[in-house]
Symmetry: C2
Subunit: 292 residues, 2 copies
């Protein structure tokens, strides 16, 4: 029986029908209610399920939901999802009542890792790591063939390894987190002085040979390189996938990044570093895969 995967974001709620074979059969998307009214969120989810079920002969067995926030250890309550206005929200129970199907919750970064492992660049890996370089720095890892959800069930926050103790201030309150150095927002911050207003502009300027942009991008690569070397020295993964908007820069970033990481890695055999391939629907897929 097919499952539905939801990827709830602060702008849109996307949902898709995923077959038992792991194929995304169809998908839909509606705006996330601007006033963050919970009843409207529920109604939007219900609408999407109805649209996906229409014309299907096979019933939908269960629903997985990816949310950009932290989920409690029982996977029932969204502890905090700032962009959605969720705080200690019993999302599982609310959706199960509304949709009359079993509902499973997952953090969106975890969903991306799961999708990457099942259908993307981490297929077949037993121990692997993924970072998503977007506005923030997310990620997660596959351990013994399964998604690692934390030793106490808190999950993993790989953006909050401290990379430059006492350095740039991070939104989490610490100074020097990897997220303050290895995310797109760092390129924006460093590029502002030169009139570049987004990460792509900085990368494009570096590609065109601008010396200031090149210096910014080189420092960015050096920081990501140190970060990934740290992960390798601690976990020794078989392969690392790099996802998120910044990974669109492709080999322009990846080639020097691989060299940088290999030079800093404690182990002589290079860890494969590849661009993530699960794509924009990774959240939907990962959510559907967590549903039983």
């Amino acid at each position: 029986m097919a499952k539905i995967g939801f990827d709830i974001g602060g702008t849109n709620i996307a949902a898709g029908l995923v077959s038992d074979e792991g194929v995304l059969v169809k998908k839909g998307s509606l705006p996330f209610p601007q006033d963050k009214d919970f009843e409207k969120v529920m109604a939007t989810c219900e609408q999407l399920v109805a649209a996906l079920e229409e014309g299907e002969t096979e019933p939908v067995r269960s629903i997985g939901v990816a949310v950009p926030g932290s989920i409690d250890a029982t996977a029932s309550i969204v502890l905090n999802a700032f962009n959605l206005g969720f705080s200690n929200t019993p999302l599982k129970a609310a959706l199960e009542e509304r949709l009359q199907k079993p509902v499973y919750l997952i953090n969106d970064a975890d969903a991306a890792v799961l999708a990457e492992h099942r259908i993307g660049s981490l297929r077949g890996c037993t121990n692997a790591f993924m970072i998503t370089i977007g506005t923030g720095l997310g990620g997660g890892f596959i351990f013994n063939g399964s998604l690692y959800r934390g030793g106490r069930g808190n999950g993993t926050e790989p953006g909050h390894l401290i990379l430059v103790n006492g350095g740039r201030h991070c939104s989490c309150g610490n100074d020097g987190c990897a997220e303050a150095y290895c995310a797109a927002s760092r390129l924006v911050q460093d590029g502002r002085t030169y009139g570049w207003s987004n990460a792509k502009m900085v990368i494009d300027a570096a590609k065109a040979g601008d010396p200031f942009a090149t210096a910014i991008v080189n420092a960015f690569i050096d920081d990501i390189g140190s970060y990934l070397a740290s992960v390798i020295n601690l976990l020794d993964p078989e392969r690392i996938a790099v996802g998120g908007g910044v990974s669109a820069a492709g080999e322009f970033l990846m080639r020097p990044l691989r060299e940088n990481v290999q030079r800093k890695s404690f182990f002589t055999d290079p860890t494969e570093i590849v661009v993530a391939t699960a794509g924009n629907d990774a959240g939907i897929y990962g959510a559907a895969f967590i549903a039983e």
Copy 2:
């Protein structure tokens, strides 16, 4: 049947007879040959086995050996153990031929983690982390109830997480590794200006209220705090054990360290941080525990 555990160090080779119940029945120690002659090392090991077996009615089943260096993925060859003069040394085969018993190799930091898990402060933990703060920074972790030996079998090098990217030079070649900030050698380095020649002198001066020593120790605690917060944010362990010479400072270090870590941890539930209890014989125990 009992097993023998070896803890081979650059100064001494220690060995102990460990019963099936995990009790260290008796132990012995001989100097490590000063010229690092391999034949002499073998002879010393043989002498120790003979001494431990003497008067025992039950035969020794197998032998575990902890070495301060890296071991290949098949656990047969010591790739590099600088202090012992070992380089691509087929230690398992050599000892098996000499001692006529199955031999198992383990890195000494891993042996300490294993001992801590079986008989020390990490007993009963499913997911836990240990750091050993000595001249260097060692450690390892317990994952799903077992010692983690790396995703590709390379083991784990937790001293080489980069804590201050571009910072103090580390013996591994990188700049800014945790080992350059969180080991006893950092206290020696910082204390030298003030005439303190070892870590204990700096800590004792801080305990006595010396303002320079206090500043050094506070910075040291802040670095270890950031390091442990990074580990927590990535792995979410149930408990962390702090071992090694520096941990002898006890609550003088541990109390402010716990506060520092908790303040920087992403998760609200504090991870327990305790002093390691397996003691000086941890290497012998861990080696015996790895023997089958």
